[in-house]
Every structure is written in C-alpha cells, then in structure tokens.
C-alpha cells in the first residue's frame, strides 16, 4: 500500500501546477472565456506542448502510456484553476472511447490530432428523457448501404459547439431502454445533417444541443460493437466520473484555501472574522469533508483499473456520492463564509461553487449514485 506519488507523477504535478499557476489566474481565465468558442487555443496548445493531451494514450499510439493516477493529478490541477478548455470532453472521454474501444484505423485517424492539440472531441449522449441512464437511448443508427444513418436529438453536449468530431450514442436495434442494441459512432462535427446550437453553461464552459437528421456515416464510424457498446460506454463514463471527482477535489481544496485566507483577512468588530469559533468550526467541517472526498477520489482512481465491472461501477458510484456531498457542503459554505462578496461575479469563489454544482449533476447526481451503491448491495 502506498499513497505517495512516484517521481514521474510528482514532476507531472509540478509541471501542470506550474503551467496553470503562471498562465491561468482568475483574470486570465476571463480573457480565455471571451475567446472564440469560449476557450483559449493558446492554452490548449500549451497543454499539448507539455504532453498533457497525450498522457493516457499508449506509446504505440504516440502517447505516454500514463494511467488513472496521472489523469487524477491533471484533473485536480484543472479544477483548482477552473480551467475551461475541453480536457474532459476531448482527452478523458473522447480519448477514452478511442483507447478502450477504437480500431487501429480509428486510433490512427484521431489520436495524433488529439495529442498535438489540433482537434477536439465531444460526447453526444444526453437525451431529453434519458437523464442519468446511459442505456436510455432513443436516437437511432439505421444500417444503410454499408454504413449508418443517424437521427436524433442530443442535449448539453460539452464542447459540442466547437468539437471537430462528435462521439454519438445511438440505437441500432431494440427499444428505448434495452441494454443491448446501443452503438457509439464517430461523426464529423460538420457532417451534413448535424445542426448545433451552442451556448455557455452556468459554470463558464460551453455546450451545445445537437440535432442529427439523416446523418450518413460509414461502417468504420462505429467504435466497438455497434449492437452492444453499453459496456464500453459505462467504462468510459466511469473514467469520466473518476476524472470529475478529482476535478471537484481540486476545486474544493482551492475553495477551502481561499475561504480560510478570507477568514484571516476580513475584519469585523475590530478583529479578523476567523477568530470567531462558529466560523472556525465551519471551516474545520469543510476540511473534514474535503479529506473524505479526497480519499474517495483516490478510491475511484484505483477502481478505474478494476477488471470486475460491477466492483468498478460500485466503487466509482460511491466516490461520486461522497464527492457530491462534500462538494455541495464546501461550495455552499464557501459562499456563506465569504458573505456578500461571495455572491458576486467578480470574485472567484462563486465560480468554484458553480462548477462544483454542475459536476454534481454530471453523469449521475448523488441520489442516483447512492441508489446504484444500494442496489449493488453496498460496499461491504
């Protein structure tokens, strides 16, 4: 048992923290958000230069063969700085589908341009009635002359507006909630029949609602088994859940630091408000919540490599519950302890809170995952 980072992992952490420390303060972030598409191409290229976009890919595919721990390190750092660039959508999820399910041809066609920063991806999964159920898919992919025709509507697709390639879940057979008959398809963002309506999200990212009308793709567009891709989807979404748990821990860590700093400097009644025991104990409870979440983020990271799908899913669901609860508590109390200033757009703490809030509702909220842990018989 060992909780320490290896030498390489420590260096990775230093390098990503260093990069973001020098180029991603709150004012710089505002500028990046104002750029075309809502994020900065310059920052993205810097991430590529440092090799961060190639981390999880195998060396054969031109990457670094890094594992879940490295992704955790990066996501935590991205969380601290509230990075808006599409790392989750492109590297973790898009890259995850290619790594875990892609053919040699698909890997060769897409991975190099992810690694060098020239292309980004988006995962078009959420439907009007699917909520958190990955197996609830109405969009269809019908076979036609050696390929597929995709029809359907997808919502809140992160990075959906600017992605070069969309990864789309669609049903090749069966009913809306059948676990079989679901496929995953690579669709060019500019394909005929793709209509994208982009918008900013509450937490400063960008998403799109996307309509697919008679979109034709070749047979080689399907990642993995087009009639049974749900296990692949679940695996990659579990990777994404672990990643956003780590991102949330980074945000919580920074929220607590910022809040404690505020308690030390803000004076009322002639003393720093951090001298009041009520506020001290609230901050102590935030620390407890943070440490519990950190432990479970590590647990989720380890679980990403579990071979047993049920064990993996239960562990990651449990982490999502803890991180959801801790994130809500720390997010809300950070605002409370800041008082009025915490309510304003001009101060960073509220933006932490907003991203934490959106993370809770991404790929299953606390209640949803608690139900999953319950249904699998618990953790012990």
């Amino acid at each position: 048992m060992d909780f320490d980072l290896s030498e390489e992992q420590r260096l990775l952490k230093e390098s990503v923290d260093g990069l973001l420390g020098s180029s991603y303060d709150f004012e710089q972030r505002k500028k990046y958000m104002a750029e075309q598409g809502g994020w900065s191409k310059t920052v993205w290229n810097k991430l590529a230069e440092q090799g961060l976009l190639g981390l999880p890919f195998s060396e054969d595919d031109g990457g670094f063969g890094a594992g879940a721990v490295e992704t955790m390190i990066v996501m935590e750092a991205l969380g601290k700085a509230l990075v808006v660039e599409p790392y989750l959508a492109t590297v973790v999820i898009g890259g995850g589908f290619l790594r875990r399910g892609g053919s040699a041809g698909q890997k060769a066609a897409h991975i190099p341009s992810i690694i060098d920063g020239s292309k980004t991806l988006a995962f078009a999964q959420l439907e009007k009635n699917s909520r958190y159920d990955l197996g609830d898919v109405s969009s269809s992919a019908k076979k036609k002359s050696g390929g597929y025709v995709i029809d359907g509507e997808k919502f809140v697709v992160l990075n959906g507006e600017s992605a070069d390639t969309l990864i789309v879940t669609a049903r090749t057979k069966g009913g809306q909630r059948d676990t079989g008959g679901i496929g995953v398809f690579l669709v060019p963002g500019n394909a005929k029949g793709v209509a994208r309506k982009g918008y900013p999200t509450q937490d400063g990212l960008h998403a799109a609602d996307i309509t697919f009308t008679g979109v034709e793709v070749g047979a080689d567009a399907a990642i993995g088994d087009p009639e049974n891709a749900l296990p692949l989807i679940e695996r990659v979404v579990d990777d994404a859940r672990s990643a956003i748990c780590a991102e949330a821990v980074g945000i919580m860590d920074e929220s607590l630091k910022t809040t404690v700093e505020y308690l030390k400097t803000r004076t009322q009644f002639g003393v720093p408000i951090g001298s009041f025991q009520t506020l001290q104990h609230r901050a102590a409870d935030m620390f407890v919540a943070l440490e519990q979440a950190r432990s479970m983020s590590m647990f989720a990271t380890m679980a990403s490599d579990f071979d047993d799908a049920k064990e993996r899913a239960t562990a990651i669901a449990a982490a999502k519950v803890q991180v959801g609860k801790s994130g809500k508590f720390i997010g809300q109390q950070s605002i409370q302890l800041h008082g009025g200033i915490g309510m304003t757009m001009e101060v960073k703490i509220g933006h932490h809170f907003k991203r934490l809030t959106m993370i809770e509702n991404t790929f299953g909220d606390t209640d949803y995952h608690l139900r999953r842990v319950t249904n699998s018989g618990g953790l012990m």
């Binding site: 048992m1 060992d2 909780f3 320490d4 980072l5 290896s6 992992q9 721990v69 404690v260 308690l263 030390k264 951090g274 001298s275 025991q277 001290q280 104990h281 901050a283 102590a284 409870d285 620390f287 407890v288 440490e291 519990q292 979440a293 950190r294 432990s295 479970m296 590590m298 647990f299 990271t301 380890m302 449990a318 519950v321 803890q322 608690l370 139900r371 842990v373 319950t374 618990g378 953790l379 012990m380």
Partner: protein
Amino acid sequence: MDLSFSKEEVAFRDEVRAFFRDNVPSSTRQKLQEGRHLGKQEMVDWWRILNKKGWGVSHWPKEYGGTGWSSVQHYIFNEELQMAPAPAPLAFGVSMVGPVIYTFGNEAQKKYYLPRIANVDDWWCQGFSEPGSGSDLASLKTKAERKGDKYIVNGQKTWTTLAQHADMVFCLCRTDPAAKKQTGISFILIDMKSKGITVRPIQTIDGGHEVNEVFFDDVEVPLENLVGEENKGWDYAKFLLGNERTGIARVGVSKERIRRIKELASKIESGGKPVLEDVKFREKLAEVEIELKALELTQLRVVADEGNHGKGKPNPASSVLKIKGSEIQQATTELLMEVIGPFAAPYDEHGDDGSNEAMEWTAQIAPSYFNNRKVSIYGGSNEIQRNIITKAVLGL
C-alpha cells in the same frame, strides 16, 4: 500510488485473522457481537492469550516487547481485532501509561511496570478529568504535596473508566500551586489500594457502570512514583493524548456493526418483508458504508504518512478520524435501533456487567445506542477536535 495491500501484507492479514478466529473465546466474541459488556476476567484472559502470542503490546519498541511491525501492519492488526471481534488491549495500560513510562520513566519504573502492563498484572485507569476540568483539562485542582519521602494527594477525579477493576491509576496532580496553568502539573502513579482512595460508581444513561468518581483523601504516594520530572506532567499528558490517534477511528468496530445491522435487518420484518429490503433504510445504510469507506482510506493515508515521516508527531489530520469515526459509530448504533424498532424498549434492570447470561439480545441495542453518545465526547470532544483542525491545519 497503490491502495491495495502487498502480498506480504495480505499474508500478514490472513495470519492475524486465523489467530483471532482460533483463539478468541466464543462467548467473548458473541458478547461483543451483541454489543454487551465483558466481565473483568474475560478481558484479562483474552489479553493474556494475546500477550503469550507476543502481540499484547505490539506497537511498543522491540526492547520492551513490541513487534516491530510497520504502520500498515498495525493498522491491519487493529482492524482484524475489531472485526473478529475481540477486546482491544486495555488502552490505559498499553497505549497510555506504557508509552509514557518507556519514554519518560526511569529504569526501575520500566523494569517493574512494563512487563506487568503487558500481562495485565496491573489493571490501569486514567486520572485526568475532574468535575471542574473537562475539555479545559489544565485547570485541574487535585494536588500532590511533598512531605518527607511521600506525596500527599488530595482531590477528585471523574469519568474514570473501569476504575472498579483497577490496581493502579496514573494521575495528573498539581505539584506547584503558584505556577501557571500548564506548568506545575506532575504525572504520578498511584496504587488504587492506597488508604484514602474511594471509588464511587457513576451509572450512565444506558444503565451501565463503566465510569467512576475517584476521591483522594490524604493519600500517601512514594516519591519514586513520579514519572519524569516534577512539574513537567503536562508535556507527558500531551504526548499521551497524541499517541495512537489513528486507532480512534474504530473502522473495524463500525464494519462489524454494519455486518450485524445487515444480519438483523434481513431477519426482522416490516410490512411483510425484511427491513433490509426497504429502499430508504438501505440507502441510509449505504450512505454510512460510503462514509466509512472514505474514513478507512483517510485513516490509511494518515497511517502511511506516519510510516513515511516517522511516528511521535501526531498528524493533525487525525482529528478528522476522531470526528468522522465517532459520527459513524453513532450512525451505526442508530441504524441498529431502527432495525429493531419497538423491540428496543424493554429494559433489563439487572444490567450488563458481563455476568447477566439471561439477558435478551434485543435488550442491549438501545443501551448501546445511548452509550455510544460518549464517543463524540471522550478523547477530546469533537468540538475540541475542530479547534485542533482550526489551529493546527487551517492556521486560524
């Protein structure tokens, strides 16, 4: 980073588990599973089995009978002990006064007391708290005045756990009344059979008798029973309280209780089906299991940190273990209450001192719930733990 046990650690766990399976007396095991108290002799018998195996004072330095295990091995040992379940070594001797004696005591004290602690030849109790000195321990008033070759001790201690069984008590006494609060306190070992000591039982809300008041009325104590230097007792007390912090999470105890909750909840029916099938109940249980998993990992992180950076410096993050560990213990006793519902009510007024064999198993569930309210109070209340986090971690 690797959160799984190594092959050697797994082998060690299996060895420890097998030893407990084969050596914990079945009546002892059953009483603990039912949340009942044990009699003095049952506990002493078990500790002597443990000591014979060489595991009685496992975390002590090797020269005094310790095992030389790694932090992870100690963790595994404690966890398996709690899950067996078997009584943990008597903390007052093994975890508290023992380390103070081998760290600050003189050669004669080490030679005499340490083997007796290991074999529980002496049952120790702790004379710290006083009626006016709880969380503000340094305000204590019990005084020890030098007179010839003796101290004359006068005062009162309270919340003295299992003093009714004790042969010895380690006491914080004021030896310099003129000195400021923390200075002027000494750490003194006192024979419980001394003339002038009176033990009065305190019955707690569960009906049990664990704690006592201890009165000292002109008690004569030989000067050689002073540990370390006179008026330095507060330092030794701080050392004692910072020791073995990681054990306070009691993860194994909560795991064992969750096992029992599931066992009972699958037998007891509500609305024609087992309580365990009630979705709301199961979700509440799952929530506790998740908190416990997080705590277990947090504890392992603190343990690993100790292993890497050396013992002796208590990690302030261990206050997290105390807060969460106690909350989870209380949550599990609450869930047990919920499982048996109205059958929690009957009260066995004969009480449970380990000898009441006729007691119904249901009769111990409410008392255990009531009794467990103590865990967020003792060992530095959870509010004191928050003060520690505030100062030592957050720097407020």
